[in-house]
């Protein structure tokens, strides 16, 4: 057999060109407007069929300069911005800020205010984890059932917050030195009632999701991180605990009055998505335990703010880093005072920003559907990532 090439050269043997069938990888945009991104997060996935080969996360769509805005207002005025960083755990974020200012200015706050703060913050942890359960259920593929069931409980907690402070999301209720005003008269009874309902809600979620074979098949061994990896990425909160590190700032670096209660820290084994879910589920139960004890111990009367507060707050020059355990991890505020009535520097250390940075190694060489689940398990709040 004689073949002629294009150059005119005559070959006596056929040329066998071995070439694999080439396919082009496809880029897929998950976000900034996509049902799975929980806000305006953008992730460009390079997929080979269904397998994710590369992932590039883009953040910053929600950047509003919260740190700079806080520096331009006096210590009390910047409180409203703290609600708007982590809007799902606004009480916790407020609490870090007021704690930092109080430490910086050396203000002692009355015991009753401390209890109210702790109770509201723990309720907010419950609320945030309920939100996680619902959104995560939707990511895994529940057609709204997990979402509606958890939102039913979230509504009850929001109703309680509304009764206390008049708002459902942006509370703006804590003050430097105490609280804005007294909680309503039936606060303790209402809280107990809400807790009764919430406990039922937690077992409902547990029964709906935990032992569901399909749910387990989707979550087991997805996005697994070892403890070392998690620490090297600066991951904190339930994600870190799911990887097997019993690190909880409420215990490691206790603030407020957490040393008065008995509770337990859930710790996972495998660090996968399923463990993260289980850790959060158990944390909700532990929060209920803390709340029951706090409600029983809480003094029924007493001041909610110090007797004397300076009209203008001018802390002595100094710096402080206050960090607390938010539902999503370590939320810290670094604050520098230069002796004037405005902070010279406010730096927010947001847990989601660091947790999100661990996304890429989790999703590479997994399926597209796993990438969505892994992203959901981080429980991001984009307002907090971008600040």
């Amino acid at each position: 057999m004689v073949q002629q090439t294009f150059e005119g050269e005559v070959l006596t043997e056929p040329v066998v060109v071995e070439r694999e069938f080439e396919t082009v990888d496809m880029n897929i945009n998950i976000g900034p407007q996509h049902p799975a991104t929980h806000g305006v997060f953008r992730m460009v996935l390079t997929v080979d069929g269904e397998i994710v080969k590369d992932a590039i996360p883009y953040i910053g769509y929600m950047h509003r300069g919260g740190e700079k805005l806080s520096e331009n207002l006096d210590y009390r005025g910047a409180l409203g911005y703290q609600d708007r960083t982590d809007y799902l755990a606004a009480f916790n974020s407020e609490w870090v800020y007021v704690n930092a200012v109080e430490r910086l200015a050396g203000i002692e706050i009355p015991e009753r205010a401390e209890y109210v703060r702790l109770i509201l913050a723990e309720f907010n942890r419950l609320l945030s984890h309920f939100m996680f359960m619902g959104a995560f259920g939707t990511d895994v593929g529940y057609f709204g059932t997990a979402f509606t069931w958890t939102f039913k409980e979230r509504e009850r907690i929001q109703d309680l917050f509304e009764a206390v402070c008049g708002d459902r999301i942006m509370y703006n209720y804590f003050r430097v030195g105490g609280l804005a005003w007294e909680p309503h008269e039936t606060f303790i009874e209402d809280s107990h009632w809400v807790l009764d309902q919430v406990e039922v809600g937690i077992s409902d979620v547990d029964e709906l999701m935990t032992d569901n074979e399909v749910f387990v098949a989707r979550c087991r061994d997805v996005g697994a991180m070892t403890a070392d990896e998690a620490i090297s990425y600066g991951v904190t909160g339930p994600m870190l605990r799911a990887s097997g590190v019993p690190f909880d700032l409420r215990v490691e670096e206790p603030y407020s009055i957490y040393d008065r209660f008995h509770w337990e820290i859930p710790v996972g084994e495998r660090g996968d998505v399923y463990d993260r879910y289980l850790v959060r589920l158990e944390e909700m139960r532990q929060s209920v335990t803390i709340l029951r004890q706090a409600l029983d111990q809480m003094p029924t009367s007493g001041p909610i703010e110090p007797e004397r507060m300076p009209a203008r707050l001018r802390p002595a020059p100094g710096e402080i880093y206050m960090r607390q355990e938010n539902p999503r991890g370590e939320y810290g505020i670094y604050m520098v005072s230069d002796g004037t009535d405005k902070p010279w520097r406010v730096k927010m250390r947001s847990p989601c920003f660091h947790n999100l940075s661990s996304l890429k190694p989790q999703v590479i060489n997994t399926y597209l559907a796993d990438a969505v689940v892994a992203l959901g398990s981080i429980d991001i709040v984009l307002c907090e990532v971008d600040r």
Binding site: G141, P254, Y258, E264, Y274, V279, E282, Y367
Partner: protein
């Protein structure tokens, strides 16, 4: 059903044909509307909601309001879309589903045509549905749609095979039983199969078949836990992501019509269709009620699966079909062949099938448990013993900055 007999007058064939087409379209549309309303209401009860309440008494006119909205909505076609594929795809998805209605028996005499190869016709025509889906996915020029369409095609291919094999097994059983009366060749007709179930519904003879058929049905309909082609959190709705207005409505209508059809088919093949289970002759009026009751029960099951199951992953779906369902379906066909060719009794067929079903359940359970290791709950708690309070200290600095 012969309409001319039903109306008591004779009429030319072409009028009869037109009347039947109108009958099909009207009945299917009404059923689809009722199903959409029913699904929204039932799903709402599962999800601690109330569902539609504002349109008509307890929201009964919601589907009509939706349809009006869809008809009046702008029909948007993306500028880069493949025009013909995009515009024809909804019809390609919609027409086969309506065609399948022809051999469906609602009562003993109420069907369009009792086709001798009715089952073959049903699966041959219903399979065309996927062409419309792939056309929509390709024509939309959208990556999510493409992913969804490819997923749908892969899923349809993998789940139709075990489903068809199971139907073959059912036809074998039916042929064996009908041969006693002398006409085994009628075993391909759905109405004959239903007619044979006057005393014994085939779910007793082929429990494994019923199980595999339901699974295949859920996959065929893109229902959870097999809804990856239209998964909202992954591919934002899948192949119809670019569709709007009535073109989207046609996909929607096709989906619900297919749900109704497959449920009627399942109840005909396995639950005895229009028969009262113990052989009593209940008359035509009650037969339609029985059909509707059986289909309604199954529809509630399908909707319940939507409320209570998350979504499998695409590789899990495929391996479940090819590695679990297909071997079992083949074993079922072989077992039926051996038993029936040796003239085995009905109870032997049923027992073997039930044994296979138990084996399948055990296998799935074993795989799941092995995957999970020991128990599912791998989270332990350690008692929290707070250290001594060490408040972060304020570090004095010189008056910052300049």
């Amino acid at each position: 059903m012969v309409l001319s007999e039903f109306a008591g007058v004779s009429m030319p064939d072409w009028i009869d044909a037109i009347l039947r087409i109108i009958f099909i379209v009207a009945l299917m549309t009404i059923m689809a509307f009722a199903l959409i309303y029913g699904e929204r209401k039932i799903l709402a009860r599962f999800q601690a909601r109330v569902g539609p309440t504002r349109t008509g008494p307890i929201g009964t006119l919601q589907s009509i309001a939706d349809a009006l909205k869809l008809i009046t909505k702008e029909d948007v076609r993306p500028i880069t879309a493949d025009r013909w594929a995009f515009e024809l795809a909804p019809y390609m998805a919609f027409v086969p589903v309506f065609l399948v209605f022809v051999p469906m028996p609602f009562t003993e005499t109420w069907f369009i045509r009792d086709l001798n190869l009715g089952l073959l016709f049903v699966f041959a025509v219903l399979g065309l549905n996927i062409v419309g889906v792939v056309m929509a996915a390709w024509g939309s020029d959208n990556k999510y749609a493409l992913l969804g369409g490819v997923r749908a095609a892969a899923q349809a291919i993998s789940y139709e095979i075990p489903m068809l094999l199971i139907v073959v097994a059912v036809v074998m059983v039916a042929a064996g039983r009908l041969a006693v009366d002398g006409d085994a060749s009628a075993a391909g007709s759905i109405n004959s199969i239903v007619g044979d179930q006057t005393t014994t519904p085939y779910i007793l003879l082929q429990p494994l078949g019923f199980f595999i058929f339901i699974i295949g049905m859920l996959a065929e309909l893109h229902r959870p836990p097999f809804d990856m082609p239209i998964a909202e959190s992954e591919v934002v709705g899948g192949y119809f992501v670019e569709y709007s207005g009535m073109r989207w409505g046609l996909f929607f209508l096709a989906e619900y019509t297919a749900l109704f059809l497959l449920v009627v088919l399942a109840s005909s093949l396995f639950l005895g269709g229009w028969n009262w289970p113990f052989g009593a002759d209940v008359g035509l009026g009650l037969q339609i009620v029985l059909t509707l009751v059986k289909t309604t029960v199954m529809i509630v099951l399908v909707i319940g699966s939507r409320a209570l199951f998350p979504r499998l992953r695409i590789d899990q779906l495929m391996s479940f079909s090819w590695k679990v369902l297909l071997p079992f379906a083949i074993i079922q066909v072989i077992a039926n062949g051996i038993i029936l060719s040796y003239g085995g009794a009905d109870w032997v067929v049923g027992l073997v099938s039930f044994g296979l079903l138990v084996a399948l359940g055990g296998l799935v359970y074993y795989i799941m448990r092995r995957k999970q290791g020991e128990g599912t709950r791998t989270v332990q708690t350690t008692p929290a013993t707070p250290r001594v309070i060490t408040a972060p200290e304020v570090t004095p600095v010189e008056a910052g900055g300049d």
